[in-house]
């Protein structure tokens, strides 16, 4: 039975490591951006809520 090897496995170990590192860095970057987007959206919502909240906290009529 012939063994089919992927091109990835055929690559030299250094290239494989570099590709794995690049994938890891890309994943880290994307996760970071996603997290920054989430906290920014939370902050924008907080500011919007705060803008109205200050009107709820009234002293008296």
């Amino acid at each position: 039975v012939p063994v089919i090897e992927s091109s990835f496995e055929k690559q030299p170990p250094l290239v494989q490591r570099l590709k794995a590192l690049a994938s890891f860095l890309l994943a880290s970057f994307l996760y970071t951006m996603a997290l920054v987007l989430i906290v920014s959206a939370l902050r924008a919502q907080q500011i919007a809520d705060g803008q109205l909240t200050i009107n709820f906290e009234y002293r008296a009529f």
Partner: protein, 402 residues
Amino acid sequence: MPGLSPAAHLGAILVALVMVFGVRVQDLDAGAFLGIRDVRGFSVYTPVFPGLAHIDQHEIFSPRFAGTKKIVLLGGSPVDSVGCDFTWSRRESSQRPNAAYSCSIAGQMNELLSAAGVTNWRVFNLARNGAGLTPMLYVYAQIRSLQPEIVIYGDDFPFLFLDNADANDLTAAQYAELEEHFAATAQTAGAWKAYHEHLVRRGLRPRFTPASWTDRPRMMASDLIFGRDDSASAVRRATIGNLLVAAFAQARDNTRVEAPLLPIRFAPLRNWEVAARAEPRPSSDDVAEIANPSPDPGFAYSQGLTLISTLQRLHGGTFWFTAFPDYDRRGDAEAAATLTAFGEYWRAHHVLFKSHVDLEMRPVYETYDGVHHTLYGNRIIAATLLSDLRASGLLEPSPGSP
């Protein structure tokens, strides 16, 4: 990322957490990199009262409205009017009040202007729940440099004079600012001196720490992420986080629904006559003050109104005082006579005066306690105020509009 193992994904997530919460990449200044010098355009402005210490965060300061003709609303809660229904005034309720800028009189006026094709005018809501005349003088002093064409002070008269015109709500530093604006101008120096001396005689003790209602809103979870920073909504640096927050705010403002998020709630089972009188307004001290025998003996507090009218005239603007609808005082001859006397005095000092105390409002549906109004009542007041301005020839249509 095909081929990345679950462990590597977990590692990448850990790196992201470190970058955001440790290194704080969102706080890196991207201004120089992106060539952004003027960051004012990225500030998050608010259409509702931002607190006395943060007036600069109000949308009236947004570069977006730099060339727009301005109508500024000043006053207390009936003018602030961001409450869409009675839930706004129910203190005992833990339920979130139904409130939205679009319900307010300013929001409704802007909708009416927009519907009429008027694009070169905008109404700005700078009224504040519970505010009397003195804090509103401070607000006016802050926006004076913008030279608003029209300022309307709305009031459930004589609320603006109660509690010594809320003189003790300002700090000593804020009084120093008022001095700069009013005492330093020759035309207002005399009136300011008379007004200030009257406040002192009636017990002015300026606070050295801001009153709680002038503070920023309470800390929230995202403060832990971004830090507690007063300049957070007024962008000082073009950080990645600030730019994204501004982008989200911009997107939100441009898709603003011109209706409340929650349905308007009425209280059909409420006993209107009892409810309207159950809320002690004004307090017993205030009643004594009103009955003494005029709400403003010698027109001393009224000097505060003449300060605004004088400064408005200096740049060619106008100033209105409008008595707001009051269900309990409709047809009250004594109250009407008092208002007429004040109206004559104010008109003599270039304050355009209009009384809408008798404006018909349906209980429950349009006014929920006699002086505060639902979205539907606010809509009627908005149309009435615009009608006043049009009748006076103050509100010319934009060029090319029908």
